[in-house]
């Protein structure tokens, strides 16, 4: 079955091509059904191929499909190991559910088929990324998912803000990609190949600490862009301009986790660069806290989730920086479940509220939308880290592993703990503002539960969010065993051995989450005037949070504005006078010369004849008298 794993990429790719060219001949919802089936097929293929890993002990295998550039180790080849299998299952599994949801959400859109064509292309690209057997192919997938992200954020490109957000996401990611690209060049200089097999086996013997640190940090620049960490996270909140299923699939569950995957995949390099690991962990921890505080002050239901995603990605980056790779990937998985659920739930709410996204205009929706309400409630508890739901086990494993490292990492652990508290606060705040309290709807809004095609994926994801955490509990480390063959030669950070310490750490993070939830409940279950006065009482801090610390404006002043100024100077002060001047000057010169000899062309045939004759005579005389 392993030899056929390329089909997992090929099927959605074929679906995408089919829908691109023939989708417009198909009636809604057929394109959505085809796309969903393609991703579902992919999932089944991956599941079948992963059976040896579930049975345990099986090692990764590289499947060579086509010799592309063998000289630099860049072939079309698939590395099928537990890590790739896990990522593939998440991407296709969550992806299939979101495809189904989108059939309902995109109902009536004039470019319905195009949406699913790009969505399928995204799945194929993401699978290229995670299944790649070398860095060249990974980079190919890395850029392709960026393209799909751009296309989907700007899907409603007639709206100016959507087009601008798509552009922003693409450009900010390009900054990160530059780092990754330079890192890949360094890798090639060091090893003479880009193939995983040729690099990871030799890294230990051939890589100096300095070079390893440089490569690791350059890779991390790419990660910072793709996985939305400080300082390049600014594109992700704006990416919410895309349709909600896109936010769920690409900007929460899968694409943004590519950075976590890259670091986990490159663990052999990061292991040789302790300084880079500390940097990674620090950036992750601070991003988690930074974004969580911003999430508290948001009014837009999707923006809360966007900053929450950045914050949770910070946790994952913190984990992989601490070398707790399994914990990071575990959180990646549980986060994929509950964050996809939260986004889809938010989509369901937005759908019901006639595209209203302001939480201050919601409230009391629970009675109208029971399924959405209950499933989103589960996701809220899961992300807040309350046992026994998914988020608890994974977040706790990260925090425990960070704590166990001690020293400087204890400080990061405190940050993680504070973030857990804030997470509980903003998630509970969101849930209460949307579903509880008195309705604050605009006139004419008639909320209603979404159709079955949207609620069924919600229910499945709620189930996964509930039990997903049980795949890796301290009692039964299934995921860790599953991933073991992928991290054989890597020293992994583990939670402490002592049970009492483990329990204390877990209790602390649960208490933090509960305190957050409790504070939000006490506050936001009051009448609107009271909590609005409370928010006003926190000025000016509350406004800083609401406006995301003004980072966008800061970037606008320090980077975008000078960049525009530079463009203007080159365009109007250099390009037009100098470059265009030179080109136009040549043109003017030729035209002047032409004007000077133009009178020769009189237009009278007899003139030409006379000149012809005169010329002949001159030549004749020359021949007869002196020449030749």
């Amino acid at each position: 079955m392993t030899e056929l794993i390329w089909l997992a990429i090929a099927v959605p790719l074929a679906g995408s091509v089919l829908l691109h060219f023939f989708g417009r001949f198909l009636k809604e919802p057929l394109p959505g059904v085809i796309a969903s089936l393609a991703v579902g097929t992919s999932f089944v293929i991956a599941l079948t191929a992963a059976i040896p890993f579930f049975e345990g002990g099986a090692h990764g295998e590289t499947v060579l499909l086509w010799e592309w550039m063998p000289a630099i180790g860049a072939n079309i080849e698939i590395l099928w190991d537990p890590l790739a299998a896990m990522m593939t299952l998440i991407v296709t599994g969550v992806g299939a559910l979101i495809h189904v949801f989108a059939i309902g959400y995109m109902h009536g859109d004039e470019r319905f088929h195009r949406f699913f064509a790009i969505l399928n292309l995204f799945i194929a690209s993401m699978l290229i990324l995670v299944l790649a057997g070398n860095y060249a192919m990974l980079f190919l997938g890395w850029e392709l998912v960026g393209l799909c992200s751009y296309l989907l954020i700007g899907f409603w490109f007639r709206r100016h803000s959507a087009a601008a957000a798509a552009k922003k996401a693409f450009i900010v990611n390009r900054i990160g990609d530059l780092g990754l690209m330079v890192g890949l060049m360094l890798v090639f200089t060091a090893f003479g190949t880009l193939s995983y097999a040729g690099i990871f086996d030799r890294a230990d013997a051939e890589l100096t600490t300095g070079l390893a640190t440089a490569i690791a940090l350059l890779f991390f620049v790419g990660v910072v862009g793709k996985s939305a960490q400080i300082p390049l996270y600014v594109w992700l909140p704006d990416a919410m301009e895309g349709p909600t299923p896109v936010s769920a699939l690409i900007h929460a569950a899968t694409m943004v986790t590519a950075g976590v995957y890259l670091i986990a995949r490159s663990a052999a390099i990061y292991e040789l660069a302790p300084a880079a690991q500390v940097t990674v962990a620090t950036v992750g921890a601070f991003t988690a806290l930074w974004a969580a505080t911003i999430a508290m002050g948001q009014r837009d239901i999707k923006r809360v989730l966007a900053y929450s995603t950045i914050s949770q990605l910070g946790y994952m980056i913190l984990a992989v920086g601490t070398t707790a790779y399994v914990a990071g990937l575990f959180h990646l998985m549980t986060h994929a479940f509950f964050k996809a659920l939260l986004f889809l739930g938010a989509g369901s709410v937005i759908h019901a509220m006639n595209d209203e996204q302001d939480m201050y205009k919601m409230g009391g929706l629970f009675k109208k939308m029971k399924v959405t309400g209950i499933t989103m409630g589960i996701a809220t508890i899961a992300i807040a880290g309350i046992p026994p739901l998914g988020g608890f086990w994974s977040k706790d494993e990260i925090l425990a592993a960070v704590f166990e490292r001690g020293g400087y990492f204890s400080f990061l652990w405190v940050i993680g703990l504070v973030t857990a508290l804030i997470t509980g606060f903003y998630m509970a705040r969101q849930f209460i503002l949307v579903f509880l309290g008195k309705p604050r709807w605009d006139e004419g809004v008639q909320p209603h539960e979404s159709p079955r095609v949207m609620t069924v994926p919600l229910v499945i994801l709620a189930l996964l969010s509930t039990i997903g955490g049980l795949t890796n509990t301290p009692i039964r480390l299934s995921l860790e065993h599953f991933l073991e063959p992928a991290f054989e030669s890597i020293t992994l950070a583990h939670p402490p051995e002592e049970t009492w310490l483990l329990v204390v750490i877990a209790a602390l993070s649960v208490i933090a989450g509960l305190v957050g939830i409790g504070a939000a409940s006490v506050n936001y279950l009051r009448p609107r005037e009271d909590w609005e006065r409370w928010e006003g009482g926190l000025e000016p801090v509350w406004s800083w949070w609401g406006q995301a610390y003004g980072v966008d404006e800061f970037y606008g002043r320090t980077i975008v504005a000078p960049g525009k100024r530079l463009a203007e100077v080159t365009a109007f002060d250099i390009d037009i006078p100098v470059i265009d001047g030179a080109v136009n000057g040549v043109g003017r010169l030729v035209r002047g010369l032409g004007a000077w000899i133009r009178p020769l062309q009189t237009g009278y045939v007899r003139n030409y004849g006379a000149l012809l004759l005169a010329g002949t005579v001159v030549i004749l005389i020359w021949l007869l008298v002196g020449g030749a």
Partner: protein, 100 residues
């Protein structure tokens, strides 16, 4: 046998008549005839030179010139006819649109 110099002289005269006609006349048709005259003057020199030097190349060249001239006549006359249809005149002085 007549001295080839006479033929050469005749050809020169014919050529000069053609050339002057080309320069002095305005009617496209007449100018065209003058060109033919010049061509045939050249043909005459080739023939007589070939005969005087006992070389067949002169006559061969003339055949080529005849064929090319015939083709040229077709094209030239066609142009003149269509110009006439368009402008109702064959005076070349009125066809000076190509003045620079």
């Amino acid at each position: 046998m007549i001295d080839p110099g006479w033929y050469m002289g005749l050809a020169a005269v014919l050529f000069m008549i053609g050339a002057l006609g080309l320069l002095l006349r305005r009617n496209a048709l007449v100018m065209f005839m003058c060109i033919e005259l010049m061509l045939n003057a050249v043909n005459l020199t080739l023939i007589s030179a070939g005969r005087a030097l006992n070389d067949l190349n002169g006559q061969v060249a003339v055949f080529f010139i005849l064929v090319v001239a015939a083709a040229e006549v077709v094209v030239g006359l066609a142009i003149i006819v269509s110009v006439f249809r368009l402008r109702a005149t064959a005076s070349v002085d009125e066809l000076s649109e190509l003045r620079g």
